[in-house]
């Protein structure tokens, strides 16, 4: 069986500066795969390239058997790849309900959309309570919930989460991580980018450590969690 997502020797450059320097990894259906690494390692650039916001300068991306190279972003989501971007990027002057509706922009099954909106409210009850409120009035953690709920609205085959715990309080971070575990248990395939390596590795099937545009270490979540170099570099131990 081929993987849901296969990335081969992917390269991305901003002008002359190469931010991603030939990385390869894959995501199997049902897996949670995480990319960890410091700021500037190229994790966000990788996700933005997968979802079509950036053009790769080299390499190959196969999603569900189809090459993604050269397909514009608005068509990639139709193939089943959803991206919850770094910094959340909810639409601040639209309501929570409208934000969720936009997540289902390409769907036409009204009843199904309604069901999934309800599912988002079940997953994050606070969103349901505030559905008529402008999304910009939510706290950071609530905005993160909305961004995740919105990404799920497209019924993706692969959900990409970029730094979902960034800037959140420890309690909120806990809540977000629990939700990812819940989604995983429900069979959602997830590509997770995180700076919080401890949290990401403890729930991931596969992990890849990125440094300045390259994958320097790969392994299962538990393996990496116990790897000495990872512990030193990313888990703050010496």
């Amino acid at each position: 069986m081929t993987a849901l997502l296969e990335v081969e020797d992917l390269r991305v450059a901003y002008g002359k500066i190469e931010a991603v320097k030939g990385i390869s990894f894959s995501v199997e259906a049902g897996q949670v795969v995480t990319l960890i690494g410091t700021n500037g390692a190229g994790k966000t650039t990788t996700l933005r390239t997968l979802s079509g916001l950036l053009k790769p300068s080299g390499g190959r991306i196969l999603f569900d058997g189809k090459p993604l190279n050269g397909i514009p972003a608005h068509k990639i989501v139709a193939l089943g790849l959803a991206h919850s971007p770094e910094g959340r990027h909810i639409f601040p002057r639209l309501t929570i309900a409208e934000n969720l509706q936009l997540g289902a922009f390409l769907r036409t099954d009204k009843a199904g959309i309604e069901k999934d909106v309800q599912r988002a409210y079940d997953l994050f009850p606070i969103l349901g309570e505030r559905r008529k409120q402008a999304a910009g009035t939510l706290s950071g953690g609530e905005q993160q919930m909305l961004a995740m709920g919105r990404a799920l609205m497209s019924q993706p085959k692969l959900l990409m989460l970029d730094e979902p715990s960034m800037g959140l309080s420890p309690i909120m971070m806990q809540k977000i991580m629990e939700t990812i575990v819940e989604l995983k248990a429900a069979g959602t395939t997830i590509l997770l980018v995180e700076q919080n390596a401890q949290a990401a590795l403890s729930l991931a099937d596969q992990g890849h450590v990125m440094e300045v545009g390259k994958i320097v270490l790969s392994g299962t979540g538990p393996d990496l969690l116990h790897d000495e170099s990872v512990r030193k570099a990313y888990l703050g131990e010496d």
Binding site: A73, H74, K75, F91, P92, F105, A151, S154
Partner: protein, 310 residues
């Protein structure tokens, strides 16, 4: 006799005209942060499209038929030119430093003016519009509404209402709001943002064509230069109301129109300011108003603070 109601009506009609053109500036700015300085010429081309339609119709056709067809013909011309400008002049510059599209817009404005001047038959002098001035409508003893003013005062609110509903309720309108607030994330939702940008240009151009027909019917004629000052005024209205906000465009237009009408009528009655009143100074007072509003409220009357847009 108290002439205030009459002055207010004149100002309102002028303001509705400004507001209708201002929509074009504000929609494009709201979505791509571009001041389309060629929009005044889009308005002018709407006028010439309407004129062409009028000339193509057999003489003696009822105005009830002629005017709607003129609006459609004008809108076809203005939308065609505006979307072509977007596709071939502005889109290649997306992502370029902001000064590049701005200079392009100014250049395009000159090119469009000169093309009409050079190639439209007899456009070197004003061209006549159909005779529209009949009897005015008497509302009160001291308030008469000219037919052209009534025309714009009915059409402008209708256009605004339709646009407001479209933006708030329709799927494309929702996509337009999303694109204005965060274009990259809009793409992640599956929104074809290029199409939304074309739509913004097209709606602005169609409204400008309606305004051009109203303007031509009021003045009885149109000319290749008419987009310059009206475009500038409408841009002022858009900034006054808070650029990027479609209701702000209308509010800004009305405030500007009222200020002009009232300054023409009343400034010269203020002791010591006799020389500063009348029609000759109306533009000056309009821009003074702009400066004052921007000093007090830099984001415009209905504009959001920049912090809210983050």
């Amino acid at each position: 006799m108290n002439e205030l109601p009459q002055q207010l009506a004149n100002g309102l009609a002028l303001g509705a005209l400004y507001g209708l053109i201002a929509i074009g500036y504000t929609m494009v700015y709201g979505i791509v942060q571009l001041i389309n300085f060629a929009h005044g010429e889009i308005f002018m081309i709407g006028g010439f499209g309407a004129l062409t339609t009028y000339l193509a119709l057999p003489s003696g056709t009822s105005l009830m038929v002629v005017i709607p067809l003129m609006i459609i013909g004008g809108a076809i011309a203005s939308v065609a030119v505006a979307t072509a400008a977007e596709r071939f002049a502005y889109r290649p510059l997306r992502g370029a430093p902001r000064l590049a599209p701005l200079i392009t817009a100014i250049g395009l404005s000159i090119v469009l003016q000169q093309l009409v001047w050079g190639f439209y038959p007899d456009a070197k002098k004003p061209r006549s519009f159909p005779e529209f001035h009949g009897e005015s409508f008497k509302i009160f003893d001291n308030l008469y509404l000219q037919r052209a003013d009534a025309f714009i005062l009915v059409l402008a609110p209708l256009c605004m209402l339709a646009l407001g509903m479209f933006v708030a309720k329709s799927r494309s309108g929702r996509a337009m709001q999303a694109t204005a607030q965060d274009p990259d994330t809009a793409k992640l939702m599956g929104i074809n943002t290029d199409r939304i940008i074309v739509m913004a240009f097209a709606i602005g151009a169609a409204f400008a064509a309606v305004a051009a027909v109203a303007y031509g019917l009021d003045k009885g004629q149109i000319n290749f230069e008419m987009g310059f000052l009206l475009g500038l005024k409408a841009f002022t209205a858009a900034v006054l109301g808070g650029i990027g906000n479609i209701y702000g465009a209308m509010v800004g237009g009305v405030v500007l129109g009222l200020a002009e009408a009232l300054s023409i009528a009343y400034i010269e009655e203020i002791p010591g300011m006799q020389q500063l009143g009348g029609g000759a100074w109306a533009n000056v007072w309009a821009f003074v108003l702009l400066i004052v509003v921007l000093l007090v409220r830099p984001q415009g009357l209905l504009g959001e603070r920049v912090a809210d847009r983050a």
